[in-house]
């Protein structure tokens, strides 16, 4: 299994390399506008634009290898926007943002704890809520609880997250004049109470909203498993219901559930942009959003590669968890 993990991880650099080339094409080749115009805005003077071109190396070709229709067919340049970016990125330097000139890496590191906390807490709520109610609704099929869970599951996929989060801010304020400590980010260690007062309700709303897919899947998988022979045998030999459900049924439903947990993670991860925007949390989601608005290409370039890395790692973890849950799954 270790060998399998190492082999899968060895693909990671290749995937990141491909993603970096694709995003470079998307951000720098396809758009027809002059990037210097994008940085400077409409009222930049020609002189300023020249300075931008000089500073960000925009006069270099985008890729080091260019292909022509006439001789010489292939030419290689020493400097190009992509190769310069790549060589620096390999040393951990992802350049400066266009808007503030600060290092992309230090901005990312600053925003990371807040994003991590919101994604982690939301996922925890999502998983607890999704699995608990999915199992209960399968156990008590066609009961009132089951109907409630099923209605909830449809509502959860239909009500947008930004609506729920807006209500979370507005309703307590309208009814009880209670306002959440919105804005900025106070670390958990510095001031735990203020931190949790903001993050717990927010993560609760995001988590519950995101749990509907998981809940649906847990319910259908459990219904299938509960019908199987080994579950009937386990109850017949007099095991307590709790141990039948937890160690016989739930464990055998484990692999599809882990897949859904992976999907839930991707959903929560994507949703962090909206959450951070509405609650003004200074995390990487807000960083992504603000950079999109100002079309800050170095930031987007880095965050795209980072997102690809996260997605690949999560998929790897999900695959490895199969072997951990189900001894029949063997990787070599």
């Amino acid at each position: 299994m270790l060998r399998y993990a190492v082999r899968r991880l060895s693909f990671l650099p290749i995937i990141l390399f491909a993603v970096s080339i694709l995003t470079f094409c998307l951000l720098r080749v396809l758009p027809t506008e002059d990037i210097a115009d994008v940085i400077g805005g409409s009222n930049a003077t020609d002189q300023q634009k020249e300075a931008y071109r000089e500073r960000y190396g925009l006069r270099d070709p985008i890729f080091p290898i260019s292909v022509h229709a006439s001789m010489p067919v292939v030419t290689v340049q020493r400097h190009s926007q992509y190769s310069d970016w790549l060589l620096r990125a390999l040393r951990g330097d992802f350049g400066q943002t266009f808007t503030s000139g600060k290092s992309v890496r230090s901005e990312f590191v600053r925003g990371f704890p807040a994003s991590f906390e919101i994604v982690f807490l939301s996922l925890v709520f999502s998983v607890i809520f999704g699995i608990t109610f999915g199992v209960l609704s399968a156990m008590y099929r066609n009961s009132i609880l089951d109907y409630a869970v099923r209605i909830f599951a449809v509502l959860g996929t239909s009500i947008p997250e930004f609506f729920l989060l807006s209500l979370l801010i507005i309703i307590p304020s309208y009814l009880w004049r209670y306002s959440m400590p919105v804005g900025g980010y106070v670390s958990l260690l510095e001031d735990p109470l203020t931190n949790l007062r903001l993050f717990v309700p927010a993560a609760f709303v995001i988590g519950i909203g995101g749990s509907s897919g998981l809940m649906r899947l847990v319910r259908t998988t459990m219904l299938e498993v509960l019908r199987s022979d080994y579950v009937r045998t386990a109850s017949a030999k007099g095991l307590r219901q709790r141990s039948v459900i937890v160690s016989h049924a739930l464990k055998n439903a484990g692999t599809p559930i882990m897949t859904a947990v992976g999907t839930a993670f991707i959903a929560v991860f994507g949703g962090s942009v909206i959450a951070e925007k509405i609650l003004s949390i200074n995390g990487n989601g807000l960083f992504f959003f603000v950079s999109t608005q100002s079309r800050d290409l170095p930031v987007i370039q880095f965050l795209a590669v980072y997102t690809a890395g996260v997605v690949v790692l999560i998929n790897l973890l999900v695959d490895l968890s199969y072997a951990w849950i189900d001894p029949r799954v063997k990787y070599s």
Binding site: L27, P160, L167, Y174, G213, I266, L297, A304, T307
Partner: protein
């Protein structure tokens, strides 16, 4: 040469319609009675489509007209959903907001989903390298959070509905190809295909005359999930200020304006647009679920929209 095996008789056994030869309307009434939730959802969808076409003519006020003395009126007799900061009628803006979503959904459907569906049928039916290429690209595309893809494309091409249409359209292309590929894979092993083949029909003819009519209903399933996703994403992007141009009546943008202009004092500015989005997305989701249950219980739960 048309033979008996190629006629309607055999194809109809796999068909989704009710077997009786009842009159058109009573068949519909019966389907509606068996699926009351689906029927209500379908009615909401019809209302949405009608509003999308004629919305502003039903509106009691001009949705863009500003009237400063009437600002921030609560829901009441004159304005049933209240008024905005500029005294615009919230109810009229919601009626008119259906238009942008209907147009958006239609564009995504025609330029993304339908070509994707065609590709899916061809790749599922004839397979090989085309199938491999489409499936791997679809997997790569759907692995990323949709919102991140949208933001990356917006950073490249600038904000606006055009960019959002492009990205959501690509998503629908892959979604359509996936759904119809799954259907075509099942369909190509059915007896009527073998029967048609045994009469000497060419593959193109089988695909066009036999497979296509049988998978048509699944286009409707895809249509409802395309609209559910389209309405949700248009609202999200307009909420973030990256979709419609400022001032255009759009549920997502209006909700955002509501939050910005003091939603904690005037909650109707937030609640009504939010309910409009949720209701329409819910209706499309439920309509899709119902259609899928009627068509093919085996596909239950396999193609639900992802957030």
């Amino acid at each position: 040469m048309a033979t008996i095996a190629e006629g309607k008789g055999i194809a109809a056994t796999d068909s989704w319609e009710l077997p009786e030869n009842r009159p058109f309307f009573s068949r519909w009434a019966r389907t509606a009675r068996d699926n009351p939730v689906g029927a209500v959802a379908f009615a909401v969808v019809i209302v949405f489509v009608v509003l999308g076409i004629f919305g502003s003519s039903f509106a009691p006020y001009n949705p863009r007209e500003q009237s400063v003395p009437d600002k921030f009126l609560g829901p009441g007799a004159g304005h049933i959903f209240g008024t905005t900061k500029f005294g615009q009628d919230v109810f009229s803006r919601i009626l008119d907001g259906a238009r942008i979503d209907l147009k958006f959904g239609a564009i995504v459907l025609v330029l993304g989903f339908l070509p994707g569906a065609a590709l899916g049928v061809i790749s599922g039916y004839s397979g090989r390298w085309l199938d491999y290429l489409i499936q791997r690209s679809a997997e790569a595309w759907t692995a990323f959070p949709q919102l991140f893809l949208l933001l990356t494309f917006i950073a490249a091409f600038g904000p606006g509905l055009r960019t959002v249409e492009l990205v959501v359209g690509i998503g629908a292309l892959f979604g359509g190809s996936r759904l119809l590929r799954a259907v075509a894979l099942v369909e190509r092993h059915k007896e009527y295909v073998a029967a048609a083949r045994s009469t000497g029909a060419t593959e193109v003819r089988i695909l066009y005359r036999h497979v296509l009519p049988n998978i048509m209903p699944f286009i409707l399933v895809g249509l409802s999930s395309v609209f559910a996703i389209a309405v949700l994403l248009e609202a999200t992007l307009s909420f973030l200020g990256l979709g419609v141009s400022p001032g255009t009546p759009s549920w997502g943008a209006d909700l955002n304006t509501g939050v910005q202009t003091g939603g904690d004092k005037y909650p109707w500015l937030v609640i009504f647009p939010g309910i409009a989005i949720s209701l329409v997305v819910l209706a499309f989701n439920l309509m899709g679920d119902t259609l899928r249950d009627i068509l093919d219980p085996r596909l239950r739960g396999s193609t639900g929209p992802r957030k």
